[in-house]
């Protein structure tokens, strides 16, 4: 494997990993075959062609020692392939990867365990595969078992473990082994809540201790929380590289566009079906006279809703819900707060919800419903999306009201 060099000679001391001009293609046969018959059939049919898929195109970047480096991108953007090239599992078609030190990967949720071996034996076998000596594994064994909380199970065969326990052990091996660079692929969904909490704590600690970590994730929250550098990969090229906030924003904006297209299509179908005498025409988030889907934290805004009644609707109620990215209702309100219930006369109406913005940062969508008294006439989900930009502090908090602090 002459393309992937493991020399530390050419790398400066402070660089942990350097990827230079890496490209990777996959051959996708038009008819995939693993058998002689298939191969012969394809040959007879003249079906020997394949499509060349360019997964990575001339990717170059550098990770410094002590970096907590996030890699984000939608499914199929090439980030997992890149991770496998970094970990020397795949060989790039061109370009090179240089690594300074021992690299420990945690890819596809596991390090590959043998179900017939006990937990202890698996840890030692895996350690050997990662390139550790028996003494080195002896040294970190207790740490691994402690972190995985599997002390009572280590002499059991792995096939008797639950899947959660297996992943926990694999993850513990990866993070507690004394490698120089840790490569993690989509891991924060590992284990139960308590274990996830533990992993989070570990990441905070790792960040503090300046351990070199490469993290591939779909969670912008994690990127913002843990990483000090990040990059966005789109269609095999680096679309954004830099501070985690910028990268996370770029990722979210990109997704907002994508989602909007899908949702609009859905709504049209739904609108045709639903709406008994009342139809939603438009929803907009407005700041002043400008529509915006990207709001700053604590920036008050109006939800401007236009609907059309084909008849008079007595005791008309129009309600909105703002749903956050965890599916929680962040705000539920309607014109009922005005007390007396109005009649929506036949024709178009505009309803303006002026909202004091105490929402936490994140993505939100709007659900709407309309009723005449107790009769539900219209109910639609996700008619609109918007996002609140990241706050500088405390972005895990559920709300973000204005707070004044005084020390006396």
């Amino acid at each position: 494997m002459s393309l992937v060099k493991r020399t530390s000679k050419e790398l400066p001391e402070d660089v942990a990993l350097r990827v230079s001009h890496v490209s990777k293609d996959f051959k996708l046969p038009h008819e995939k075959t693993n058998s002689l018959k298939g191969a012969l059939f394809n040959m007879v049919r003249g079906n020997t062609g394949y499509t060349l898929q360019h997964v990575l195109k001339d990717v170059s970047f550098e990770i410094k020692k002590g970096d907590f480096f996030g890699i984000v991108g939608k499914n199929g953007s090439g980030k997992s392939t890149l991770l496998k090239i970094i970990s020397q599992i795949y060989t790039p078609n061109s370009g090179s990867v240089q690594v300074n030190g021992k690299l420990v990967p945690f890819i596809e949720l596991g390090v590959g365990f043998n179900p017939e071996l006990t937990g202890r034996e698996n840890v030692y076998l895996n350690g050997a595969m990662l390139g550790f000596t028996k003494d080195e594994i002896d040294g970190m064994y207790d740490d691994i078992v402690d972190f995985a909380e599997l002390g009572d199970f280590m002499e059991q065969k792995l096939k008797n473990y639950s899947s959660g326990m297996q992943v926990r052990l694999a993850f513990s091996v990866a993070i507690k082994s004394q490698g120089d660079i840790l490569v993690l692929d989509e891991v924060l969904a590992v284990g139960d809540e308590a274990f996830q909490k533990k992993c989070q704590d570990y990441f905070f600690e790792a960040k503090r201790k300046k351990k070199t970590i490469i993290l591939v994730t779909h969670s912008m929250g994690d990127v913002r929380k843990f990483c000090n550098k990040a990059m966005l990969i789109q269609d095999g090229v680096i679309a954004k590289y830099g501070l985690p906030d910028d990268v996370a924003n770029a990722y979210s904006e990109y997704f907002l566009e994508q989602q909007q297209k899908v949702v609009q299509k859905d709504n049209e179908a739904v609108r045709l079906e639903q709406g008994n005498g009342i139809k939603l025409v438009d929803v907009k988030a407005m700041v002043g006279k400008e529509e915006t889907q990207l709001l700053n934290i604590n920036e008050d805004f109006d939800l401007d809703i236009t609907f059309d009644c084909s008849r008079d609707i007595k005791r008309g109620i129009f309600a909105i819900n703002l749903i956050d990215q965890q599916g929680r209702v962040a705000l539920a309100t309607s014109n009922k707060i005005n007390g007396d219930q109005e009649t929506f006369t036949k024709g178009k109406h505009r309803m303006l919800f002026s909202i004091e913005n105490v929402l936490a940062s994140g993505d939100y969508h709007v659900n709407i419903a309309a009723a005449s008294g107790d009769d539900l006439l219209l109910k639609q989900s996700s008619v609109y999306q918007f996002q609140i930009r990241k706050a500088k502090l405390y972005d895990q908090s559920m709300t973000h009201p204005k707070v004044k602090v005084r020390l006396s």
């Binding site: 002689l36 599992i89 060989t91 990967p105 895996n126 050997a128 595969m129």
Partner: protein, 275 residues
């Protein structure tokens, strides 16, 4: 990637770990356990003995042919186990290859080592059997060591080739099964080589020589019988006066080993993607 990488400390440790794992797992949950690795060839031997030596009187003119039969069977068994086990080894470790980078050579070598350990057990049985049968030990018996080494290189070379090919071509498993079955009969195991020369008419001696020239396992089995059991088992270098032709099976073996290794090295870059 070079084959010498298996001699680095890291890979030696990994090799040891993989061989001992394999050893541990092979006969778990079986009552007789490791005894099977000796019992199986012995049972096969018993059948062959009854059918070919007792009923069909094969090798009646060769001294200690019973021992020669057992030796042939365990040598073939070793060859078969190394090539078949090696062939399946890369695909069998596909799950790991997709997750960690480690030496691919180690996988095949580890599987061959397991076969070698098995062979060791069986070989002890052969020695006991030979002594009981009245074969007199001599210093020339030690020549068995380079002969086994030659067989190991041959089998390992083929294992490298097959394991890399098997990643793309799963038909290889049944094909190789048939090939080894044919090879078993094309090798002087159940019959002495002298049977080809004496029973195949005027062309007999030519066929026998061709077998020894083209089938490296045949030459190895004959040589092993010659040095270990009785000089009455003729070898190629007795039949062939031309030094270079007599050396051909060894050269052939080396070519197969190097060819298999090169093929494996070239293909191994893409195992993780294809497996």
């Amino acid at each position: 990637m070079k084959i010498t990488e298996i001699f680095t400390k890291k890979n030696r440790l990994l090799l040891k770990a993989m061989v001992s794992t394999d050893f541990k797992l092979r006969y778990q949950q079986s009552i007789l356990g490791y005894l099977w690795s000796v019992l199986k060839p012995l049972m096969l031997f018993a059948i062959m003995y009854v059918v070919f030596v007792r009923f069909m009187r094969f090798g009646a003119d060769v001294p200690h042919f019973t021992v020669a039969l057992l030796l042939g069977i365990i040598l073939w068994n070793f060859f078969n186990e190394t090539t078949t086990g090696g062939m399946l080894s890369i695909v069998g470790h596909g799950d790991l290859l997709r997750k960690i980078h480690f030496s691919k050579y180690v996988i095949v070598v580890a599987s061959s080592m397991s076969a070698l350990i098995n062979f060791g057990f069986n070989f002890i049985v052969v020695i006991i059997f030979a002594l009981v049968n009245g074969v007199r030990p001599s210093w020339s018996n030690l020549l068995i060591i380079p002969i086994v080494f030659e067989l190991y290189l041959l089998a390992l070379g083929i294992a490298f080739f097959l394991s890399a090919l098997y990643v793309n071509l799963r038909d290889l498993n049944p094909i190789w099964e048939v090939v080894t079955q044919a090879g078993f009969y094309a090798t002087p195991i159940i019959y002495p080589i002298s049977m080809i020369s004496s029973k195949a008419g005027a062309m007999g001696p030519v066929y026998a020589k061709l077998d020894l020239l083209l089938n490296p396992v045949a030459q190895i089995v004959q040589d092993a019988r010659h040095v270990l059991i009785s000089p009455a088992n003729p070898t190629l270098w007795q039949w062939e006066s031309n030094f270079f032709i007599a050396c051909w099976p060894v050269v052939f073996t080396l070519l197969i080993f190097i060819g298999g290794l090169k093929f494996f090295t070239a293909k191994s870059k893409f195992f993780a993607e294809l497996v």
